[in-house]
């Protein structure tokens, strides 16, 4: 039974969704694209002036990213970066950082 509902869910997600679900390291890999500025696993260098993302609750990060995308939150660069990722990708990234210490 369980197996059938999982398959059905995958079918609903469509091809892109299936690819996402099939890759267990996708969240980790996507979050690593942010590490150049926000630090490895979101642990930014202290005192370097860019916010850490490690351990920040997922909904908080997602809200900020949505506000960057919409332009509600003023930014020097994050509005341009956030628009490069799909909402599904940002969801995975925010979840990954929330789970980091």
């Amino acid at each position: 039974m369980k197996r059938i509902s999982l398959l059905a869910a995958l079918a609903l997600l469509g091809a892109q969704g299936a690819a996402l679900a099939a890759d267990p390291n996708l969240a980790r890999n996507l979050a690593a694209t942010c590490a150049n500025c926000h630090g490895t696993n979101g642990n930014a260098v202290k005192g370097a002036g860019i916010d850490a993302l490690a351990g920040v609750p997922k909904d908080k990060t997602l809200q900020k990213l949505a506000d960057f995308k919409s332009g509600d939150k003023p930014a020097s660069i994050m509005h341009q970066i956030a628009k490069g990722y799909t909402d599904e990708q940002l969801d995975l990234i925010a979840g990954y950082f929330a789970a980091q210490k």
């Binding site: 630090g39 490895t40 860019i50």
Partner: protein
Amino acid sequence: MMLMKRRDFLKVGAAAGTMASLYGCAGGGKASGHVVVVGGGYGGATAAKYIRMWSEGGVQVTLIERNPTFISCPISNLVIGGSKTMEDITVSYEGLKNKWGVRVVQDEVVAVDAAKRTISLAKGGSMSYDRLVLSPGIDFMFGEIPALDNADAQAKILHAWKAGPQTVALRKQLEEMKDGGVYALSIPKAPYRCPPGPYERACLVADYFKKNKPKSKVVILDANEDVMSKKGLFTKAWSDLYKGILEYRPNSEVKDVDVANTTAILEFDKFKADVLNVIPPHRAGNIAAKSGLKLINNRWVDVDWLSMEVVGTPGVHVLGDAIFPAPTMPKSGHMANQHAKLASAAILNMLSGEAPSPTPVVMNTCYSYVDTKQAIHVTSVHQYDTATKTMQPVKGAGGVSAARNEMEGKIAMGWAKNIWADMLA
């Protein structure tokens, strides 16, 4: 014979034990084997760390680097301008060794045998690998500027396009130049390493002249038909900050030099400078061609974007400035770091018998200073496209700074500190 000694593996393994508990991550830890990384710059150092981190110490990593410390190209223009020192752009490899258990070998790779999966070292001996990561950066095509094709000429007419002794030497030439002198900077045709870098350098030298040698001039001799990066922001900085000091000349390819007279020879013209700084055309680091890797235009390595594996050479992955770039993708340190993460993830999958991720993403940011305090950026995000089998820039994303500003001058240093730590700490 100097094949990897078992003793060294064991030493490295002990460091890995403590590491896994500190930096453990779900889904990793299955891969094993030996990865040799050649070149400890933005690409190679990142790959060495991330392979150790993501495999939870399961994969042994040897990093082969000819220099004793990492010296950053980004920020080095501030050393040339005089507001930063070499110390500010130098980071040790101790973090990779002690925290991540990477075996760091100071040596140079002279040959790769991709069929046998071995490399040979300049100091003698060889080493075997399961996967090889080459992050060789660039080497100059001095033959394109015939009079520069010897060591004496190269000591006088500098490129300073690899950070290190040339950075120090160019700074010295600028300090020794008389007030009223001319500094000329020649830019090769694109693609070249760090598209905004030459324009940043021109700004920072002009800033130094403005404050210290106000009768002096900066002339950019650009082989390209226009400013290659952040054009609006750079030209505004030139007219607002450096009017009468900095002159930009497009379509001015330097074909040769007259070394004794520090003169650049163009197609129809000559240009005499007091300090002549020529960035020659360049190509993938020499080891790429020497290893028989497939080059595009006889210059850049052709890679598979799902893994950074070289087309036609299984087991060898190439990162950074050495590759033939995807559309609109710049040759930058930031991008090399992203290539390294893509390759690290793919290598760990491949070492576990799995296919690489089918949906990789990379992104770039280049900050440039227009004076010692104000900076500007350009950024882009690139997603893998299955139809074209390459990375495509995301439309509607990315862009440049609204205007030069001091806040981004601070963020640019924050970027440097974070990316250096992301590679090396």
